[in-house]
């Protein structure tokens, strides 16, 4: 099988600080890759570099698009990159304020990507919006409400609906469960797990929460000071951690 995304020797510096130091990995269709590490380990910078939100100094990020063409994301012209990010990619942020338009209705939040790609039928947009509200377990009656009136868990689910509407192939998530109550987290994780399976999504999931990766990620990368210190199948890494840092992370986590 051909990899969906290949990251080769990606390096990102802030002055003398190596935020990401020669990171390499591959992501296959339908796979969920967890990236774990404490804050400052470079995991969020890695995600932002891959998505093109910040420029990086060295390395290659190659994506295989829907038509099976390899695309060098670093040299991809801005218009095409932005288009790709709105169609085949999706980004879920920790803070819903960064991922949603808080001053327009939930329906418009979901409809925006469709409007971006040229859908011009109001009725169709509403139908799609309602469908995706069901998918993410938000009552239909909330379609004309502002996201600012939603609970934290609902806002995150709306973020999912907002990007999934264009059927992306790859979704990047930055601490999607951060700041949510445990019970709310569990519901969101369940939903994410079933969406990944039914929609055959590939996901890169950045978190500091071992419980989240244990539940969702097939593969796991552990980052410390900008470097990958350990990687492998999630169960393997968590059950038999080799690197002292990973051992420390695993031991520090209470397993429920």
């Amino acid at each position: 099988m051909q990899p969906l995304l290949t990251v080769n020797n990606l390096s990102k510096y802030y002055g003398d600080l190596k935020a990401c130091d020669r990171i390499s990995f591959t992501l296959y269709p339908g796979q969920v890759l967890g990236i774990i590490g404490e804050s400052g380990s470079g995991k969020s910078t890695l995600l932002d570099s891959i998505a093109g939100h910040v420029p990086f100094e060295n390395g290659i990020v190659e994506y295989c698009d829907r038509d099976n063409n390899p695309i060098d994301l670093r040299t991809l012209p801005e218009p095409r990159r932005r288009k790709l990010m709105k169609t085949e990619w999706g980004f879920v942020r920790q803070n819903p304020r960064d991922g949603l338009r808080m001053t327009v209705t939930a329906g418009a939040n979901i409809g925006e990507r469709l409007l971006d790609v040229g859908e011009r039928h109001y009725g169709n947009i509403r139908t799609e919006a309602l469908e995706w509200l069901s998918e993410v377990e938000i009552p239909h009656g909330r379609i004309d409400d502002f996201p600012s009136t939603f609970s934290g868990g609902m806002q995150q689910r709306l973020q999912l609906a907002r990007i999934l509407v264009t059927r992306p192939r790859i979704v990047l998530m930055d601490e999607p469960t951060g700041g949510l109550d445990v019970s709310v987290q569990a519901r969101l994780l369940d939903l994410m797990r079933s969406l990944v399976r039914t929609l055959h999504l590939s996901v890169i999931l950045v978190t500091h929460d071992i419980g989240v990766v244990r539940l969702l990620a097939h593969r796991l990368m552990v980052m410390q000071n900008g470097q990958v210190v350990e990687s492998g199948l999630t169960d393997q890494v968590l059950d038999d951690p080799h690197h002292p840092y990973t051992q420390q992370l695993v031991n520090a986590t209470l397993i429920p």
Binding site: P79, A108, L115, Y122, G123
Partner: protein
């Protein structure tokens, strides 16, 4: 066409003598050339805003200086100029701009749409269709259609460059959701030549369809915001809408009180303080020509 006696308001005024001490059309030739270059760029990329170094004119910014500079840089000795504001030739602002060009150019002026070679307007497109060869200049207060979605001009420029007009449609979606219709009454945004989102200046949406495939050259000048843009003759201009909520224009329950027209944009005039209203054509030239025709045929009948 009705012929009118000389001196009547409809007939072309004889070219007055321009006031000495000014260059023809006020601006120096170098400046006019620079503005014409911007206009040519605008014609080459229909609907795309071209920055130009707008000059201070003897009228205030916001009072038509963009249109005035465009007119000044394309006007020639042989032109016949018509100036309208709110559709009327005799509103103070229209009179004032016409008087300015009489003073600094000494060109012939007219109130008849069909006689003019150059028409400057604020807020209306005449009811009588424009012809090939005519130049139609709009005064534009705010050239940027995205300004209420994206106040940063740097960011808005990027959205135009990348043709990212989704957020504009989000606004229209919200309108329909909230009001059941698109709640834009004037300065209703259009797509020009299938590529650039454009503000048509604050004309009522009633006038939007007149821009589409128009045989005249349409030029837009925004003096304060320092932008020029254009719609070349026979260019497609489409008002934004949804397939299931198509663009529509307003209509009135009343005909024009003076000329009986049912196809023109009407001004609502308050006639007393008991709430009395009457509706009359906003295009004074159209209305007067119709009235003259009617009295002519009435006389013939009589």
């Amino acid at each position: 066409m009705t012929s009118s006696s000389p001196g009547s308001p409809g007939s072309p005024a004889p070219p007055p003598i321009p006031e000495p001490g000014f260059n023809f059309a006020y601006l120096d030739e170098q400046t006019k050339r620079a503005i014409r270059r911007a206009i040519l760029k605008g014609v080459a990329i229909p609907g795309h805003q071209i920055p130009f170094s707008s000059r201070e004119m003897p009228m205030s910014y916001g009072w038509g200086t963009g249109g005035i500079q465009v007119t000044a840089s394309v006007i020639g000795q042989d032109d016949t100029l018509k100036v309208i504001d709110q559709g009327a030739d005799d509103t103070t602002n229209a009179v004032n701009i016409r008087r300015f060009f009489k003073k600094v150019c000494g060109v012939a002026t007219t109130e008849k749409t069909e006689e003019a070679t150059l028409i400057q307007t604020r807020h209306r497109i005449p009811e009588k269709p424009l012809k090939a060869g005519q130049v139609f200049v709009y005064q534009v207060p705010m050239p940027e259609p995205l300004y209420f979605i994206e106040p940063s001009r740097t960011e808005a420029n990027k959205m135009h460059a990348l043709e990212e007009y989704g957020p504009m449609y989000v606004k229209l979606y919200e309108d329909i959701t909230k009001f059941g219709r698109i709640s834009l009454a004037y300065d209703y945004p259009v797509m020009v030549n299938g590529r650039h989102l454009m503000n048509p200046s604050p004309i009522p949406r009633f006038d939007n369809p007149k821009m589409d495939m128009n045989p005249a050259l349409q030029l837009f000048g925004a003096g304060r915001e320092k932008r020029i843009y254009a719609i070349p003759p026979y260019t497609q201009v489409k008002s934004l809408d949804f397939e299931d909520h198509p663009f529509s224009v307003e209509n009135w329950e009343h005909p024009c009180e003076f000329c009986g027209a049912t196809d023109s944009y009407l001004d609502e005039v308050v006639i007393d303080d008991q709430g009395g209203r009457m509706w009359i054509c906003s295009d004074t030239d159209y209305c007067e020509q119709r009235q003259r025709e009617q009295s002519g045929s009435a006389q013939k009948l009589g």
